[in-house]
Symmetry: C2
Subunit: 247 residues, 2 copies
DNA sequence: AAGTGGTCTAGACCACGAC
DNA sequence: TCGTGGTCTAGACCACTTA
């Protein structure tokens, strides 16, 4: 930093320096300069480049790490977060069996086709009614039995030309979005309620219509906080529970 | 710290210094030396007392703040977290109306009486079967209508002689536990599922038996991480949603 | 004006991982 | 052995609250 202008040029901004550094780093990730898996420069390097102390860089990177935007490991270095089946599940799959253990999950695709946004989908994704989306229906088998019927809508503006790889049935959707569409899902908001099984869902899960199901509406956002996906999951909770930690 | 023994006496412990400081501070809170609302000494004071730098104290206190054990405010100082109706709701009440807005909630006590732990209660609270507990049944009115039927069990070992103040119906339970029993609820784990309304619940909520309800089992832990309460909530989600943020 | 937490720096050493 | 992130220090100044 310059000697006689203590706060330095960047500091015309009122926000703390570490926030600005955080935003600069995030910008490089969102902008694609640093794709998933990329090795981020070391802390001393970034400090020198940005004209701040290493401590300031550390504070910025700690915030990004906490949001799972980057991954740090002592001795190895820092990389841009890259989804894999395990991390995607760990962050975004809250179901456990009755003993609290993780669940073996397998996916079957029921249908996959382009469509137009219904009002509720448009509202969730921040689109105009009738905007192009991609519809995906899936059934999840938990520990071998069909337990979840999912109806997903992907915003075609963010995932243009989406289509499942031919012949490939199961796959963690967010891993696929990152690999094939350069879209990294970073967070999601879910709204839970109880509902009776409609006929389509009942058939998919092999349950009588009217069975009480856990209904989860999810909106998933990418690293730039754009709504990418809205998903309606109908869950048979006979042998599983949705786990939440409050603190 | 002494000059020739760099890591100092405390440092025989393998854990980082700031973790040890965190534990020392938490110990004073759990032990009752610093009750809820107590003004924690300033950072420089604690640093001098414990023989570490202010930065180390800061890191320890930041962790405690993030866990809502203490509250820090610039200029004012740091205090031990004290529940009030607003914070208790904000942390532990996840229901929103269909527009995502907070909900007006009123409580009616249905029954309140001592009892013995059923197997599932004993398991949840880490007690022996038949151990003394206090049973509490409540109905919550959300925006004026009965929407939640709650069956709570409090571990009498941790909340001896619990009884509701005569004549007083509504009250945020965790505020009451802190004020009258020196037990501060710090976190909770919830397991959600869908279930058909049983007759008792249906009657309490004025719904037909068999109506799909959101069932939430909560286990609440105090600052020392002891299970204090297990609660079964049956929720009518006709006009409300349980909101979860995943990141 | 005094005292608190919040930001920022500069530099030391440690623990871990890869080469 | 070297480079990385992780810990810890000492001290400066800023922003806010209270009196």
């Amino acid at each position: 930093m310059s000697i006689l202008a203590p706060p330095a040029a960047v500091r015309l901004d009122a926000r703390p320096l570490y926030r600005q550094v955080e935003e600069i780093l995030l910008g490089r990730i969102v902008g694609g300069d640093w794709p998933p898996g990329h090795a981020v420069p070391s802390e001393p390097e970034l400090a020198a480049e940005l004209g701040v102390s290493q401590g300031t860089v550390r504070k910025a990177m700690s915030a990004l790490e906490q949001r799972h935007v980057i991954e740090r490991r002592q001795g190895r270095g820092t990389t841009v977060a890259k989804h894999n089946s395990e991390t995607a599940r760990h962050h975004f799959f809250r179901l456990r069996d009755l003993s609290g253990r993780a669940v073996l999950s397998r996916i079957m695709v029921v249908s996959s086709e382009p469509g137009r946004a219904e009002p509720w989908e448009a509202a969730a994704l921040g689109l105009e009614e009738g905007a192009p989306v991609h519809h995906l229906r899936r059934i999840r088998l938990l520990d071998g039995s069909p337990r979840i019927f999912e109806r997903c809508s992907l915003s075609s503006a963010l995932v243009p030309g989406f289509q499942l790889p031919a012949g490939e049935l199961a796959q963690e959707l967010y891993v696929y979005l990152q690999q094939r569409h350069q879209v990294t899902i970073r967070r999601a908001e879910e709204e839970l309620s109880a509902a009776a099984a409609d006929t389509e869902t009942a058939e998919a899960l092999g349950k009588p219509a009217g069975t009480p199901l856990l209904m989860v509406q999810r909106i998933a956002y990418d690293v730039a906080d754009r709504a990418v996906e809205v998903r309606l999951s109908m869950i048979d909770t006979e042998r599983h529970r949705y786990a939440v930690h409050l603190d």
